[in-house]
């Protein structure tokens, strides 16, 4: 019995025997190969070009990061020191230091405060009147309640 040589029935020689996963590829280590058919001198140039430039490697997979993994600054609390010390905390409001509400962008100038005031007055007025009628109520509180009553 003869040994060695190409065996037509071997699995690697069966054309229908195709890997389902496609193989691992060369991963950038593909050998340079002479490409015939060009003009005189092109073959050498192509060989040198293939040997000089390595194949690009596949980028390493980047795991997706969730928002919780990102370094976000903490929100802080109401009593934390300001993050913008050069600007008064009351800037943009109609009380305290800094510019008033006229300096706000026009898109923010739609003042709904009168409506908000009216809603709150209606909601809390009975309790405020009750508190103002107390003998311990200071005059400043009574003046405030009278102001709200006049706005109704």
């Amino acid at each position: 019995m003869a040994s060695g040589g190409k065996r037509p029935g071997a699995p690697q020689n069966n054309p229908a025997n195709v890997s389902a996963t496609g193989g691992a590829g060369q991963m950038g280590s593909q050998a340079a190969r002479y490409i015939p058919g060009g003009k005189y001198g092109d073959g050498k140039a192509l060989m040198e070009q293939q040997m000089g430039a390595s194949m690009a490697k596949a980028p390493s997979p980047v795991s997706p990061r969730s928002l919780s993994d990102m370094a976000m600054p903490s929100v802080g609390t109401l009593m934390d020191p300001t993050n913008n010390p050069s600007e008064p905390i009351s800037a943009g409001s109609d009380f305290g230091r800094g510019v008033d509400s006229s300096a706000l962008p026009k898109g923010l100038g739609n003042n709904t405060r009168p409506d908000e005031n009216q809603l709150i007055i209606q909601q809390y007025m009975p309790d405020l009147v009750y508190a103002a009628s107390s003998e311990n109520a200071p005059d400043s509180f009574k003046r405030f309640v009278n102001y709200l009553a006049g706005k109704q």
Binding site: L78, M79, P88, I89, S90, S93, D94, F95, G96, R97, R113, E116, N117, I120, I121, Y124, L128, Y130, A131, S133, S134, E135, N136, A137, P138, D139, S140, F141, F144, Y147, L148
Partner: protein
């Protein structure tokens, strides 16, 4: 009829301080800030002075003490 409770740092005291310090036209903000659970009247007053740059306006706690002593 029972009387409203007026104590330093109470809700009505907070309303009084914020409304008179921020201005009556800011009643909505004053009421919302009055409902903040301030740790103490001192912390509340420090906040008011921080945003207004002025002393706290409104009735003083001395008034409450005098009333309580007069009972």
């Amino acid at each position: 009829m029972s009387q409203a409770t007026w104590i330093p740092g109470g809700l009505f005291d907070n309303i009084d301080k914020f409304a008179n310090s921020l201005g009556y036209q800011n009643a909505a903000i004053a009421l919302e800030l009055a409902m903040v659970p301030w740790k103490s009247p001192e912390e509340r007053d420090a906040f008011i002075m921080g945003i207004t740059g002025d002393d706290v306006q409104g009735g003083t706690e001395k008034n409450y003490a005098i009333k309580q002593l007069g009972r």
